[in-house]
Symmetry: C2
Subunit: 349 residues, 2 copies
DNA sequence: CTGAAAGCGCTTACAG
DNA sequence: CTGAAAGCGCTTACAG
């Protein structure tokens, strides 16, 4: 049988109360007794039962982490940040990935039934998270979203769900500034998705910044997702084919860069002399392209870390109040970093 | 407050015993009563407390998963297989990655304290797992290892730890067969690592197979890890530079292929006409090389799946016996799949 | 400084 | 078919 606190108490000739206090409440027990008890516990190979502790104190020291765990390195690094922060604080992550066979709601119930102290999630496009998460909030369990926001049916972000992600708007702004500094005045953006997608903010940051400078033009080309996946260079050809083509283009995702490079090549344009390009995300491809792509790097590990820290703070806050407290959601946006490579130069004379 | 079984009992005008049985022991309670109770529970938003259940029944329906979660796709796919199998069976994975700040032993204690029903791990080179895992076995918790085996201090694999991985020896055998079929008789292997590394078995499978055929030679070149990481083509140059160079070479890792390709190019050798090459692992690089690299593909998702299934079986088995049962470890090796590309052809005349 | 007792939210023999 | 009571392994007021 497993050794319990009672076994330790008998062997050490004290009460279970004393053993319990010796382990959990420093200062309540005479140092001599305490050391003896601890030594006996150690010798017997005693290990506390956190289930019981969790049940009594209402804190299991575990949190649910809802992600895809698909093995892409971006998400892997988010999880690393989350994991290290949690483990350092004595918590443990229960890792679940919602999918067809195990939808988000059942996963969340599974976590709630195990009395996790909080839930951290990276929402994916399709899932209807919002209603499920209210289930958690209602039960006094805080939720934090990382990388992409949870958006409710109303199209608005959820009020009680904190968020940590990349400052996409700032990223667009940085891209615009770099283009302007290089001397470009005739620009374009290739973007896609709707307001809820990060590409939208990147595009907006770029466009808004250009608006503040006189004699600057910017054409916004909205790519469909099919376009992106097909990698067909058609749209890029149209954009680049005319006489009044831009001298610099901002891609709100690195992934579309290969298509644009191909389009430029087939039109006889030299990169970066005839066309400067800036991407976003710093994917592996950015490094391999010729010329290598200047882009903006996100910080997944830090996103995970800050997300977990925020969650731990909320757990603390929830613990202190009996009911689910009312609070303003915290939004933390991390600055993307400019990665200078070879795809930006002065515009052609 | 959270609604408990007692609240449900009061509202439904029955005892807690009846509520408990209505939920957990079908058949013990009259169908009419049962339905009424279940309905009340549902209306009140009752959710069972699995901590209590776990404490009483000695099964928490959770298992510890020890991996790197570094975001590489191979490991990601292993975890997917593990996750789906566990979730389908009602279990939940607690995902921990041992590292400097949180060493394996403390992670394992963390899992044991939370009374996981089993532990599944993908061991990494450095960690001293074996002694820690005895801690688990001693406490009646089964352990399964996937992808690479746990090796004890004696250098032998642990007896009580089941293993699911790739049949590396068979992979080497397949590579040899393909080379022989293409007509090669003068061969070489580039390998590295010691007996505990999978590359060793791949190499052995290749060499052993060639031995069964007359008039066949095979030079084994043992690369150091520094060599592999530096990607310096020196050793490959030496191998390929002589008159009696092999006409076909088996690489026990795809990762070293780029270096070999470069060495061949600098010696003016045409691939695959002057030299046939076979890799192992089917990494992304295998697809991008010119000529694309024929290789052997592993099945990480299936490895994870079978590993989890095996663990669930062991949990069942452990549950039935009071003490940790004595048993022969199960070893399940999955066949790698031959991926035919363009790097193998007949030897030069 | 230490201990007896109640209680956390369930399950499970054992009665009725 | 249903319920009162004991018990799982701890923690925490409350006494002494």
């Amino acid at each position: 049988m497993r050794v319990t606190i009672k076994d330790v108490a008998e062997k050490a000739q004290v009460s279970v109360t004393t053993v319990s206090m010796a382990m959990g409440s420093p200062g309540r027990i005479a140092e001599a007794t305490r050391e003896r008890v601890l030594k006996v516990a150690e010798e017997m190979g005693y290990r506390p039962n956190m289930l019981v502790r969790g049940m009594q104190k209402g804190q299991t020291m575990s949190v649910g982490v809802l992600m895809n765990f698909s093995g892409d390195s971006f998400e892997g690094r988010i999880f690393q940040g989350v994991h290290h922060t949690l483990v350092d604080a004595g918590y443990v992550p229960i890792a679940l990935m919602p999918n067809d066979r195990a939808p988000a709601l059942s996963q969340i119930h599974s976590l709630l039934d195990r009395r996790v102290d909080g839930i951290l999630m990276r929402p994916t496009g399709e899932a209807k998270w919002e209603e499920h998460l209210h289930e958690a909030l209602r039960r006094h369990v805080p939720v934090v979203s990382v990388d992409s926001e949870t958006v409710g049916e109303s199209g608005k972000s959820e009020r009680q769900i904190d968020f940590v992600g990349t400052d996409d708007y700032l990223g667009g702004k940085i891209a615009a500034t770099k283009m302007l500094e290089a001397g470009h005045r005739r620009l374009a953006v290739l973007s896609m998705g709707d307001e809820t997608d990060p590409m939208y903010q990147r595009c907006k940051g770029f466009v808004d910044t250009l608006k503040t400078v006189a004699d600057t033009t910017c054409e916004v080309v909205d790519l469909s997702w099919e376009y992106v996946h097909s990698e067909s260079p058609e749209l890029a050809m149209k954009l680049l084919g005319s006489e009044s083509r831009p001298t610099g283009v901002f891609l709100t995702m690195d992934m579309i860069a290969p298509g644009v490079y191909r389009a430029a090549a087939s039109l006889g344009l030299n990169l970066p002399d005839d066309l400067s390009v800036i991407g976003f995300a710093d994917e592996a491809v950015a490094h391999y392209l010729t010329p290598s792509l200047s882009t903006l790097r996100q910080h997944p590990r830090e996103i995970g870390q800050h997300g977990a820290e925020l969650l731990l703070k909320r757990i603390e806050m929830f613990r202190k109040s009996k009911k689910t407290p009312v609070f303003e959601r915290t939004i933390k946006l991390l600055e993307p970093t400019w990665v200078e490579r070879d795809s930006v130069t002065a515009p052609p004379a």
